[in-house]
């Protein structure tokens, strides 16, 4: 059975791009349009990997990532960030959340800055899921 990959992304063009790459490489794509919907889909679908954008409506990828990693039932699901926000900012924001009282969370399995080439995305997914 194909492995499930959840893509949390508000931009329709990027969702289509990621979905196409995933399907062409034998994975089953699941889509969510923001962090709030993403969390619901994670709990319902238990994906094998999450590809996560950051700046979206309703809930950002920064918050969703933090929530995932602090949830004992979900923290082991690997996450690949795919965003226009730089990795440096992502790491600083996670550190800032820790300063404001949250626990420290581990770094994501991969960090891809937009735009990403289809081969690079496919390779990253393969590397994580095997």
């Amino acid at each position: 059975m194909a492995k499930k990959v959840l893509n949390v992304e508000d931009d329709a063009d990027t969702r289509t791009f990621v979905s196409t790459v995933l399907e062409e490489n034998g994975y089953l794509p699941i889509m969510a349009m923001d962090g709030e919907e993403g969390m619901k889909k994670v709990k319902k679908e238990r994906p094998d990997l999450i590809i996560l954008d950051i700046l979206m409506p309703r809930e950002s990828g920064i918050k969703m990532y933090h929530e995932l990693k602090l949830d004992p039932n979900l923290k082991d699901i690997p996450v690949a960030m795919l965003s226009g926000v730089s990795k440096r900012t992502f790491l600083r924001s996670q550190a800032a959340l820790t300063e404001f009282g949250d626990e420290t969370v581990p770094e994501p399995q991969a960090y891809l800055e937009k735009p990403v080439e289809p081969e690079d995305l496919a390779e990253t997914v393969k590397k994580i899921l095997g």
Binding site: D34, I54, L55, M56, P57, S60, A96, L97, E99
Partner: protein, 292 residues
Amino acid sequence: MKISKILFVSEFEELWLDALQSLMGLRKAGMNNVVFLHVISKDKVAMRRGAGYLKQEERKLKEIADIRFIDWAETLFEEGMEVVAHIAIGNIVPKILSVTEIEKVDLIVTARLKRAKFEELYAGSETSELLRRADKPVLIYNYLSQSGKVGENPFERLLLGLDWSVSSEKVLDYVLALRGATKRVDIVHVMSEKDVAKISKMEAQKLERNNKKRLDEVCDVLVNEKFDARPHLYIGKVEDQIQKAASEHRTTMIVVGAKRRSIWKEKWSGSAAHSLADTSELPVLIVPTEVK
């Protein structure tokens, strides 16, 4: 009442990152969440004869907005804030109202919104439309000069304009929620010159005494909550006197209440709040009577 989530509406020509950063004083009042909204006017991408819907133009404008928002969001994320963004196509006021509802924001921040002159004649300004329809407080925020200067902390010295209506009570509640972000509150009531002219000297003095008493009561409420507050009574035309008081007391923001009224009532009888929103150089925070 709390202010934890603000909606920052930007068309990029009127409000920039420094305006947003100047609002960070609100963090002391519990603000930890910013929602960005950029609305691309339908006219910019609408159907053109021979060209159809300008999809490529839409992509370009969305990309520009996305790049700008990412840059702003990076600054806020690094400070531990939650940031979300909406980029929409359509009419600005309905989009502001819909995102306000979706994101459940506590405060809408926008620059003065303008319509074409002809449209303004019969429909009023978009700012007026927003104030008429919004059920959340709206901060009309403009750069103080053409060079784009903003006050460092607009919430620092408030001028609280009270007319003793129901909306006045809501405004006071809202100001109380700003504790931490605000140092000084000057409470102002303006007696109408026309009303005073109609009554005897004795009645005018009674009215004055009554207004002073009510101002003192409000002042006590604020002082009890650790605000530095002072009462002031003015006489004359409301919007003129409020602007005068603002300049006398080195105000950084004017705060007034407003009833939600129909477009025709607004057009013919006007309101001090809308007039201040349209003309004041200082930021104006307008709290609607029906705050949800």
